[in-house]
């Protein structure tokens, strides 16, 4: 009786052991696949983009970066030219110059507005408010990061844009001095669709990202250096500027690039509030313009009417440029972080 029980137990044990080994193997294999998956996806996306964009790259040439305008040429590809072996509708002409500039301009405006607001908000949350205020407030800011961008676009085009164009822009436009840079803010105040409105909407979208990251960074700064500043007779502002901020400088640069990346790639909200001008850059801060991402989404419909596929290929080239800009921004940020880390302390370093 006893021996039988023992033998059963041994058999059961052997079976579970076998299962456990298989389990381990499956887990290991799955982990390997999971690690390679993002890489494969990236490779796949870029490859497809390059293949799709190839005809456009050949025909559009380097001039694509300096030219502006989107002309599909003869409708439905009734008359087709062959350039370098690529079928192109007669009269088709494309340029991405104004879109590249528009992308950079609107993202730059967004970051310039969002960065001080975010740092100020993060500072207030970590240093100025009692926990029972800062915790729910921080939570709301994080919620804001999850609001779908189409809602931002809708609000921008229906409410914010018209209101600004009526009550704010004219005042700024009429009072800006006529000096370089600032004279960009003079002239017609427009109708609310345009560069500055887009910059503001984008700023609102990236403030939560930068604020949440910066807040986490601030809360990791050890108290001792800050106390050292206070004990030396520095004001709160001086401690913030000379101790707290530099302590997390590289992290804030990273957070900013995170925001910049989102602004550069933001599609639907920009498509709604930019005015979708393809042919030229905005004449002033209030003028309509276009970005790479927004152009892709707004032009896809009409591009698919081009039977040669050349218009779609051009959109793929826009996508490729967008990807290159995003990667370049990220690389540049890494470089800056590396250089500024020379003096700063590693984040969260015990002191």
């Amino acid at each position: 009786m006893m021996a039988q029980v023992m033998r059963r137990a041994r058999v059961a044990r052997r079976i579970t052991d076998g299962f456990r080994q298989i389990e381990g193997g499956v887990w290991q294999g799955a982990a390997r696949v999971a690690v390679l998956l993002p890489l494969a996806a990236l490779l796949f996306a870029v490859t497809i983009l390059v293949i799709k964009a190839r005809p456009a790259i050949i025909v559009n040439g380097w001039g694509f970066f300096t030219r502006s305008g989107f002309d599909l040429g003869r409708s439905y590809a009734t008359t087709v030219n062959h350039i370098h072996g690529v079928a192109v509708p007669l009269g088709a002409s494309y340029g991405a110059g104004s879109l590249i500039i528009g992308t950079l301009e609107s993202s730059a405006i967004a970051v310039i507005i969002a960065l001080p607001i975010s740092i100020g908000a993060a500072f207030a949350l970590t240093e100025r408010m009692p926990r029972w205020v800062s915790q729910p407030l921080g939570f709301f800011i994080e919620l804001l990061a999850g609001v779908p961008s189409v809602l931002f676009g809708l609000w921008g085009i229906l409410t914010l844009g018209p209101w600004l164009a009526q009550h704010v822009y004219p005042t700024i436009a009429n009072n800006m001095p006529n000096v370089p840079v600032l004279n960009f803010f003079r002239g017609s105040a427009g109708h609310g669709e345009g560069l500055l409105t887009t910059g503001l909407v984008l700023a609102l979208m990236i403030v939560p990202i930068i604020t949440a990251t910066t807040r986490d960074l601030f809360s990791q700064v050890p108290p001792l250096p800050k106390e050292g500043g206070e004990a030396l007779g520095m004001t709160d502002w001086e401690v913030a500027r000379r101790v707290t901020l530099p302590w997390v400088r590289s992290g804030i640069i990273g957070a900013t690039v995170l925001g910049l990346g989102r602004a550069i790639g933001e599609t639907i909200a920009v498509a709604m509030v930019s005015g979708s001008l393809l042919a030229s850059v905005a004449p002033n801060a209030y003028g309509t313009f276009g970005t790479l991402a927004a152009a892709i989404v707004t032009q896809l419909d009409s591009a698919s009417t081009d039977g040669t596929g050349f218009a779609v290929s051009t959109l793929a080239e826009l996508g490729l440029i967008l990807a290159v800009i995003s990667v370049a921004v990220n690389l540049a940020a890494r470089l800056v972080i590396k250089r500024s880390a020379r003096l700063g302390a590693p984040v969260g370093r015990a002191a």
């Binding site: 001792l224 250096p225 050292g228 004990a231 007779g233």
Partner: protein
């Protein structure tokens, strides 16, 4: 009763370089800018301090004589650090902070309305338990306070930086890397840098909160030696857990126990002939 009424212990380093009292020219003495100033730089007059309902210090009466080093000893949680941090008002922002009694600096209450907090902290410097350099270059660390208080600017800052780094004996070690990060220095060097930073704004009083507790024995000796050289220009109050350090480095010692000042007096006397049983048990290591 103040510490000043008791005979000052003999300090060989000072005695050998300073002429004894009767030899001072009476005219020179009359011109001494310190003459009209009270001999007690810091004076705690019945200081009682609480955080919320928790009383930390009870009725502390003590005066700190100009140019002396006072060691503040007592078991953990006795209120040493709290007392120290009261003097430069670092406790003010702790939630529930309340105080009765008064602490004066040069005869004036540190909480007086006309007392400017920033300049109070310029006059009362502080060195912390662990080195706390700022995330800026070594040179900028030294002159950070000087810049904030606009004591000097431009090229003068370099002069101040060199002078103070020399004063703490760090100049030769860092003169070729003034623009480098301070975080690559050793712990002892970092603490010396913080000392140079505190000295650069020209304080009258220096509060030291266990300044060597994070340092190795050699750095500790270096810092202790420096403290001696800072008197009589500065008045030093040093919190320490290290009784040997209190004995070696201070003129006077005060012993705090459970928020009360049990005993104070010349260091030699307090260690050799304590008046209170609790003091004796603490300094002989039977209570800690």
């Amino acid at each position: 009763m103040t510490l000043g009424e008791q005979p000052r212990p003999v300090r060989p380093t000072v005695v050998s370089t300073t002429p004894s009292k009767p030899e001072i020219d009476p005219i020179l003495e009359a011109l001494d800018p310190d003459r009209s100033r009270p001999a007690d730089v810091v004076n705690s007059q019945g200081l009682t301090l609480s955080f919320g309902n928790k009383r930390i210090l009870s009725d502390i009466h003590i005066a700190f004589r100009r140019g002396t080093i006072t060691a503040l000893i007592g078991p953990t949680g006795c209120g040493k650090s709290t007392f120290l941090r009261t003097i430069n008002r670092m406790n003010d922002k702790v939630s529930g902070f309340r105080h009765e009694g008064d602490v004066t600096l040069e005869g004036e209450s540190i909480w007086a309305p006309r007392q400017d907090l920033l300049s109070l902290r310029r006059r009362v410097g502080m060195l912390f338990q662990r080195p706390n350099p700022f995330p800026m270059s070594i040179r900028d660390n030294v002159v950070a306070g000087v810049k904030a208080h606009q004591i000097a600017k431009g090229k003068q800052l370099d002069v101040v930086a060199e002078e103070r780094l020399r004063q703490v004996g760090l100049w030769d070690a860092v003169k070729d890397r003034l623009k480098d990060s301070p975080f690559r220095l050793s712990g002892g060097q970092q603490q010396l840098l913080c000392l140079a930073r505190a000295l650069a704004v020209g304080p009258e009083v220096l509060l030291l909160d266990e300044p060597t507790s994070a340092l190795d024995p050699i750095s500790t000796e270096l810092v202790e030696g420096l403290l001696r050289q800072l008197t009589p220009a500065l008045t030093l109050i040093i919190v320490t857990h290290n009784l040997g350090q209190a004995r070696r480095a201070s003129d006077n010692t005060m012993f705090l126990y459970e928020g009360q000042l049990v005993e104070h007096g010349p260091t030699e006397e307090l260690f050799e002939r304590p008046k209170e049983a609790r003091t004796e048990r603490y300094v002989t290591g039977r209570m800690g």
